[in-house]
């Protein structure tokens, strides 16, 4: 698989996965391992240190030698997101942050204005920002101009598994932002969705629920690994253009004229 990088960190796998909603911690680890993913999203919450659980989860992740991508899930303003990012930086010992600022609780659509505001503040504070955003070209251009080397447009609302609801918008993003690392985040439901993303020339895929909530998350993680690899291979190999007219794949020269007497 072709090596790529995120903010200068070289990676092999193009699949980034979440750590939430697995049946068990061991199942999560098994799924991460078989997926080949090197980047795993994580989060933090208000919790008494003596309640237990948080430290155990941290220790499990540390043992896997993964790149952690903490998120700002649950934030509804730039101010909240910046504070949570700063807490995450200390807790997870990384300046990577998956910036999520939700604007609508019904479909968990990101708030583009607050996301851009937070991205600017975080970049000034030394963060490497991975903004979760809609597929709107102009807001993505603003995020690029603010200093985001990576942008993560949604495929569909979080957790819906609908796949790519607006592939034309994603195609436009890819065409108009050729130098930005683009990762489709959210809404991916099946490995063929991930393959489609990669066939379109995107740099990676980030998903959680489609793996963790499958009947067999470990087997599904393997499926997504193959889907991403297949899509990338197809993109790099050069996908044939669609034609209006049929074109015979077998040459007709030299074929006997069976029907010349009829």
């Amino acid at each position: 698989m072709t090596t790529w990088n995120l903010y200068g960190t070289a990676l092999d796998s193009r699949l980034l996965i979440g750590s939430a909603r697995y049946p068990s911690p061991q199942n999560m680890i098994d799924a991460i391992r078989i997926s080949g993913s090197q980047v795993v999203t994580t989060s933090l919450k208000r919790q008494q240190p003596n309640e237990g659980g948080g430290d155990q989860y941290w220790q499990i992740l540390k043992q896997e030698n993964l790149h952690l991508l903490p998120n700002t899930a649950g934030c509804h303003s730039a101010r909240e997101a910046v504070s949570l990012a700063q807490l995450s930086r200390e807790l997870f010992e990384t300046d990577w942050i998956k910036l999520e600022v939700i604007g609508d609780d019904y479909n968990l659509q990101p708030d583009p204005i607050e996301t851009l505001k937070a991205a600017k503040e975080l970049i000034q504070d030394g963060f490497k920002v991975f903004p979760y955003i809609t597929d709107d070209l102009v807001i993505c251009q603003h995020l690029r101009d603010a200093g985001c080397e990576v942008i993560m447009p949604w495929g569909a609302p979080i957790g819906t598994g609908q796949g790519l609801v607006n592939p034309k918008a994603l195609e436009a993003l890819r065409a108009r932002l050729p130098d930005v690392t683009l990762i489709v985040d959210a809404g991916i439901g099946r490995p063929s969705d991930a393959a489609q993303v990669m066939e379109m020339g995107f740099d990676g895929v980030l998903l959680n629920t489609a793996i963790s909530c499958a009947d067999d998350p470990v087997r599904m993680a393997h499926g997504f690994k193959l889907g991403v690899e297949a899509g990338l291979a197809a993109y790099e190999a050069g996908i044939m253009p669609k034609n209006q007219m049929a074109q015979a794949s077998t040459a007709s020269v030299g074929i006997p004229f069976w029907h010349q007497d009829s």
Binding site: Y22, T42, K45, Q48, D55, A73, S83, L91
Partner: protein, 71 residues
């Protein structure tokens, strides 16, 4: 100068403290365990090296955070 105890919120619970209490002293008293966590004071992150020099005022809100799974 008032000598009345301070009333603050620690993870949503009201507690009272002597005046001139620093953040490190509170954390040592309430969470004397080797667990990994980070702290926000009034919604703002406080770096660990600032705990001993961060003095708590009446009405302050302290929250502790730990790692959890995330998507």
């Amino acid at each position: 100068m008032s000598t009345a105890p301070l009333s603050i919120q620690l993870n949503g619970q009201t507690i009272t403290l002597p005046i001139q209490t620093d953040l490190q002293a509170i954390l040592d008293e309430y969470f004397p365990i080797e667990e990994r966590y980070v702290v926000a004071l009034n919604g703002m992150h406080v770096a660990a090296d600032l705990y001993p020099t961060t003095f708590i005022k009446e009405g302050d809100v302290i929250d502790t955070f730990q790692a959890i799974v995330g998507g």
